[in-house]
């Protein structure tokens, strides 16, 4: 009889859970973690806007028009980032603007993801005529520059924030459809799909319960990057006067209002754009990190 002494060094290593594994890859990318931190801050700012903002974003202080930020000559600590041409506090408008921009991102991504996934699944499962119809339609949409198509749709629907969101959601749709279809086609040739088909899984179950979860990785990456392009496009439309209408505290619309004061008041032009840049950059950083962590082809 031999004595076995369990050595601590060869204790069975439990495989890391999927979340742990993901975090291991994700946290290696400093930029991605930074991006996520910024996004968390932005979400908190947006949620707590009424308590964080020093003033009402619509309140006009008639005695304080175009006041510079507090560190400049003539600035006041009451208005940390200064005021605009009708005396509204810029900081408060930026804080409430975070709500608008994140909401635009959420709605656009949800809409385009939901419709895109359904169309992509349909194209992937019903090969042939239905697939051709859907994919050719997506090709047409991809042939147009995205901002142009968005402008065309807004021209039809009329300029407003909700119409701008619809337009942007339509414009980004082809990316989701293509990704989903490509992933579905790869998945459906795998054994587990055939096995569950043999076991009697219905079509809907097959599509949404068995296949879809395995197609999520590229979609999550695209959705994150979709946030940044949605925010950027909405701001561009707002800037052109085709998105959110004044006095909504939307960053792009704020810039459009500020254009005429560029010679006199640099702060009304600088801060809203900086807010857009930081937000978009954060989502792009996080999207890149997610791609590295989730995309199996790039995994070492």
């Amino acid at each position: 009889m031999t004595e076995t002494t369990p050595s601590p060094t060869i204790a069975p290593l439990a495989p890391p859970g999927p979340l742990r594994e993901f975090w291991q890859y994700f946290s290696k990318n400093k930029g991605a973690v930074l991006g996520m931190a910024v996004i968390v801050c932005l979400v908190l700012i947006a949620l707590c806007a009424p308590w964080l903002a020093p003033h009402d974003p619509h309140e006009q202080f008639r005695h304080a028009l175009l006041l510079p930020p507090f560190w400049s000559d003539g600035g006041s600590e009451r208005f940390l980032l200064g005021t605009d041409d009708v005396g509204r506090d810029i900081l408060s408008r930026l804080i409430f603007g975070a709500r608008v921009s994140l909401l635009v991102g959420c709605i656009v991504v949800t809409l385009s993801l939901a419709v895109g996934v359904v169309l992509g699944l349909t194209a992937g499962f019903f090969r042939g005529f239905v697939e051709n119809l859907i994919m050719r339609l997506m090709d047409v949409m991809l042939a147009l520059p995205s901002l142009l198509l968005a402008i065309a749709i807004v021209a039809i629907l009329g300029p407003s924030l909700s119409n701008a969101m619809i337009a942007i959601a339509v414009v980004v749709l082809p990316h989701y459809v293509r990704l989903t279809r490509a992933a579905v086609i790869t998945e459906t040739s795998k054994d587990y799909v055939i096995a569950s088909q043999v076991a009697g899984a219905g079509l809907l179950r097959q599509m949404f319960v068995n296949v879809l979860p395995n197609c999520m990785a590229p979609l999550i990456v695209q959705a994150t990057l979709g946030f940044s392009s949605a925010i950027l496009d909405a701001a561009a439309l707002g800037f052109l006067g085709l998105g959110a209408q004044p006095p909504t505290p939307e960053w792009g619309t704020m810039l459009a209002d500020a254009r005429q004061f560029i010679q006199r008041a640099w702060w009304v032009v600088t801060f809203p754009g900086l807010a857009i840049l930081i937000t978009v950059l954060a989502f792009n950083l996080m999207g890149d990190g997610l791609r590295d962590a989730l995309d199996p082809r790039l995994k070492r």
Binding site: A235, Q263, T270
Partner: protein
């Protein structure tokens, strides 16, 4: 090669039909009656209303109107602007050279900086230069260009006074439009001062419009180059004792350029869309600004024609890039 071209053209046709459908739908989906929109605030009496309806063919069934529209397009008739009463195609063609000039210079700026920067970053991987390039290009890629434009105006036009704020050439000069390209026209006229003025007007918009393509090209060149440098044939070239510069510029760059060219081609669509924003900010008299103005004036025939023309141009450029790609890389031509 011919089969390849024909197949590409065949794929283009349904896309073009789709674009005409969108453009056609535009005028029929807008809320309200097109004729009342045309009449504007003044209003219109019933008899004239009916007459205009018949004139514009709006009393026919939809499918007949669509086919009529297609025939009109094929004859080069894109309708008349509600505002100026000029043919849409004529207006577009007068303004288009300004957009081409701007886009071309923007692309020149993007390629001239993006390509070398991407190559140097790839060769010195993980150096400070590489990290800076990657960081800056990510910022460039995330940049709201309308804000970037305002910042540059603030710095160079308002504070330093180096460049004019807007327009295409100073009002002091008048140059006979021969080609429609201001830089060429001023040279043809032999007016150096006007040329300098045109160049000063062009420089900021071109930088603004070229920023996103610059970021994309720099990143793409870097990653394509890094992949190529790892190949065996590069090691062979080095082992033969060729100078590092020759290995990079002659041996590696050729293959690395293939994906870069595709990206450059795809940026044309980005440029034309970006031109809409850039031209609006700098009051550049091109088709982008014209399109936005037309939307704001509710000049629907112009919007419809403009969208159709810009989309067709983008499609044609994409086709050219595809064909060029097949020409450089035979593997593409024979696949599928």
């Amino acid at each position: 090669m011919i089969a390849f071209i024909l197949r590409r053209l065949g794929l283009l046709l349904p896309t073009f039909i789709g674009v005409t459908l969108i453009a056609f739908a535009l005028i029929h989906l807008i809320p309200g009656d097109p004729i009342e929109l045309m009449a504007g605030e003044r209003g219109i009496d019933a008899a004239r209303h009916a007459q205009l309806r018949a004139e514009l063919g709006l009393d026919h069934p939809l499918w007949q109107q669509y086919f009529g529209y297609i025939f009109d397009i094929l004859r080069g008739d894109l309708g008349h602007s509600f505002v100026t009463r000029e043919p849409v195609l004529k207006e577009f063609l007068t303004l288009f050279p300004a957009t081409i000039e701007l886009s071309f210079c923007a692309m020149l700026f993007a390629v001239a900086i993006g390509l070398p920067v991407g190559i140097i970053a790839a060769v010195n991987r993980d150096s400070i230069f590489d990290h800076t390039v990657m960081g800056v290009s990510l910022i460039g890629y995330s940049m709201p260009i309308f804000w970037w434009a305002l910042l540059l105006i603030l710095l160079f036009s308002v504070n330093l006074g180096w460049t004019p704020v807007s327009g295409r050439i100073s009002v002091m000069f008048w140059v006979e439009p021969v080609t429609g390209f201001m830089l060429i026209d001023t040279l043809l006229a032999g007016d150096t001062e006007a040329f300098v003025s045109a160049l000063q007007h062009l420089i900021l918009p071109a930088i603004v419009l070229g920023t996103i393509p610059l970021a994309v090209i720099a990143r793409m060149t870097r990653s394509a180059m890094m992949e190529v440098i790892r190949e065996d044939y590069i090691r062979v070239a080095r082992a033969k004792g060729l100078s590092p510069l020759r290995v990079i510029t002659v041996h590696a760059l050729r293959n690395a350029l293939i994906p870069v060219i595709t990206v450059i081609g795809l940026q044309v669509g980005v440029l034309l869309a970006g031109a809409i924003l850039t031209e609006t900010i700098f009051a550049w008299p091109g088709v982008g600004k014209w399109l936005v103005d037309s939307i704001q004036r509710r000049d629907y025939p112009s919007v419809q024609g403009g969208i159709l023309l810009i989309a067709s141009i983008v499609m044609l450029v994409n086709l050219l890039v595809d064909l060029l790609y097949g020409l450089i890389n035979p593997r593409i031509r024979y696949s599928r």
